[in-house]
């Protein structure tokens, strides 16, 4: 009779790659973010402006519809960097509100639940965790930023006169790059606020506060000291400076591209520091 020693034997079969494991975290975060009804409502609402812009592009490319109008009207109906910048500014505001709604749900519950040790006792790092949260938020923000933006751009390309693309390719590229920069900033703000505060509602308010209070402070600095560099602490304004450079539009008064990039880099570094300090596997109450 054979006697088999029964003891512990570790699984040594194939395992999924790191990217596949990261995808699990991203999917989980995506499900959590999109499970909120308000997020769906806001996503729907954020389609209104792109639809209006699409209508505008249609009108602009069908001269027969406004044939009787005067010349000044014709100049308004121009699809140029100003049109794209206006589109980007409006959608940027939507994206901030979306991040304030969806972002805090990504990290705060894990902090409130003391669930981080469970994640970090798996073969995933803090970087993986933050990256997954940012990636899911980036996916959500993409739906209201560069995706509708590129759709509009492609719509214009398809309707415009031959040669428009050759003269304006920079608009599409600049729009996508500018929005990705914005998504990175908004995502970092959302994750940092979510990591800083356990309560979702307060974390959401903090996200909104970050953008709107800083823009207010920037305006106050400009007003009191009669300067223009106050705009640099306004993340939307600093990003707008970069967008202008990317789209080939004139830079706003008082801003240069290096200054705007430096301001955004500094904000990003500070936010990353907050995330690094707050997202620890083990919370220590001293």
């Amino acid at each position: 009779m054979a006697i088999y020693k029964r003891g512990y034997q570790r699984y040594d079969g194939p395992r999924a790659s790191r990217a596949a494991r990261l995808a699990v975290l991203v999917r989980d975060a995506w499900r959590r973010a999109t499970a909120q009804r308000l997020v769906t409502v806001l996503l729907a609402a954020s389609c209104l402006w792109p639809l209006l812009c699409a209508f505008f592009i249609y009108i602009a490319n069908h001269a027969e519809l406004w044939a009787g109008m005067d010349r000044s009207f014709a100049s308004i109906l121009s699809i140029d960097h100003q049109f794209m910048l206006t589109f980007m500014k409006v959608q940027a505001v939507f994206s901030v509100i979306l991040a304030a709604l969806a972002g805090p749900g990504l990290v705060s519950p894990d902090l409130a639940n003391q669930g981080l040790p469970l994640y970090f006792s798996r073969p995933i790092s803090r970087f993986d965790y933050v990256f997954a949260r940012l990636a899911s938020l980036a996916g959500l923000l993409s739906l209201v930023t560069w995706i509708p933006g590129l759709v509009l751009f492609l719509m214009q390309v398809s309707m415009a006169q031959p040669g428009w693309l050759a003269a304006n390719w920079r608009l599409g590229l600049g729009l996508a790059a500018g929005f990705w920069l914005w998504i990175a900033m908004v995502g970092l703000v959302a994750v940092a606020c979510s990591a800083y505060v356990r309560w979702r509602l307060i974390a959401g308010a903090l996200v909104l506060g970050y953008f709107f209070v800083l823009s207010g402070i920037g305006a106050v600095i400009n007003g009191i000291f009669r300067v223009e560099w106050g705009d640099l602490i306004n993340p939307l304004r600093a990003s707008y400076g970069v967008w202008c450079a990317l789209l080939g539009a004139p830079m706003p008064s008082g801003l240069t591209l290096p200054m705007s990039l430096a301001a955004l880099a500094l904000m990003g570094a500070l936010l990353a520091l907050v995330v690094e300090r707050r997202l620890r596997p083990v919370e220590v109450v001293s």
């Binding site: 999924a16 790659s17 040790p117 006792s121 798996r122 220590v284």
Partner: protein
């Protein structure tokens, strides 16, 4: 072949000015080990250190030969259940365990099979598809245990795993720990409830103020504490006679009649001599019903070691 022990060598961990653990030297062999100590003794710090959740400020740790900074390898051989109620409320117990397995890199099919097996082991199959938010405290405790054992780890680190369990489930869980330990794994549980670790552990590590104050099996630790006489409860038909004989022949320091009929509490500094005398008395015809050590438990040992600090 990796070393089959968890080794701490002169390990210290501070959180700023706050002491976590200090100069810990420890070797934990396979089997069921309890880490015992009052709140703030450093139990969780020790567990977090061996799981690679935090790193020591000084000293070296090897978990079966793997340094904690090699998280990719370490996490695969360790299963960890935090003391906190950390299971996500929005997920079902099954989804929670499956997700944790997917993070280890198992395929979806295998993850589902392993999750089901783990939930079966902790007796949670019936409630597997209910949301964690609808679970009782004991069920949440069990589902946390399930996620810790689901990937079949060689080292199980369970922080206060018996909290919130009712007596029946507690007994089942302890039986599961024993089974896992009998399979050759390291099962390390922490507890601040001293009396419960007696019944479950092969060995204990007693912590106080961040330092290991004793380790080993309870009896061994007790024997090392020579300044406190050993205590026995002896039951016999004629207690006054037994008391007189013990005073006459054995190295006892105190014999006290207990309220219970026929029971004596005997204190001795020489356990072997006491045992010899008692055997001789029984052989001589004195009806001795039972001899039970009264202080070979963690509570007593702890009290002797740190003066009732527990």
């Amino acid at each position: 072949m990796s070393a089959p022990e968890i080794v701490f060598e002169n390990v210290s961990k501070f959180y700023g000015d706050v002491l976590g653990v200090n100069r810990v030297d420890l070797r934990i062999p396979p089997g069921l080990t309890s880490i015992v100590g009052p709140n703030g003794a450093g139990k969780s710090t020790l567990m977090n250190l061996m799981c690679g959740l935090i790193y020591p400020d000084r000293g070296e740790i090897r978990v079966l030969g793997i340094p904690p900074r090699d998280t990719e390898r370490l996490m695969r051989i360790t299963g960890y259940a935090t003391q906190f109620d950390a299971a996500p409320r929005w997920a079902t117990g099954f989804d929670f365990v499956v997700s944790s397995l997917l993070l280890f890199g198992y395929s979806a099919t295998l993850a589902e099979r392993l999750a089901w097996a783990a939930l079966e082991r902790v007796g949670m199959t019936e409630a597997a598809h209910r949301k964690v938010s609808a679970y009782s405290k004991g069920m949440r405790q069990r589902v946390r245990l399930a996620q810790a054992i689901a990937h079949d780890p060689q080292v199980l680190v369970l922080d206060e795993p018996l909290n919130g369990l009712d007596p029946v489930v507690r007994a089942e869980t302890i039986a599961l720990f024993r089974q896992l330990a009998a399979e050759g794994r390291h099962v390390i549980v922490s507890s601040h409830v001293l009396h419960e670790v007696d019944s479950i552990s092969d060995r204990v590590v007693l912590l106080a103020n961040g330092s290991v104050i004793a380790e080993g099996d309870i009896r061994g630790v007790r024997e090392e504490i020579r300044e406190h006489p050993s205590q026995y409860v002896v039951r016999c038909a004629d207690p006054p006679r037994l008391a007189a004989l013990l005073f006459e022949r054995a190295p006892v320091t105190e014999v006290r009649a207990l309220e219970e009929d026929g029971a004596l509490l005997v204190l001795t500094r020489d356990r072997r001599a006491f045992s010899r005398v008692l055997t001789a008395l029984a052989a001589g015809g004195l009806a001795i019903e039972s001899v039970v050590p009264a202080d070979e438990n963690v509570n007593a040992v702890y009290e002797y070691l740190i003066g009732g600090g527990a």
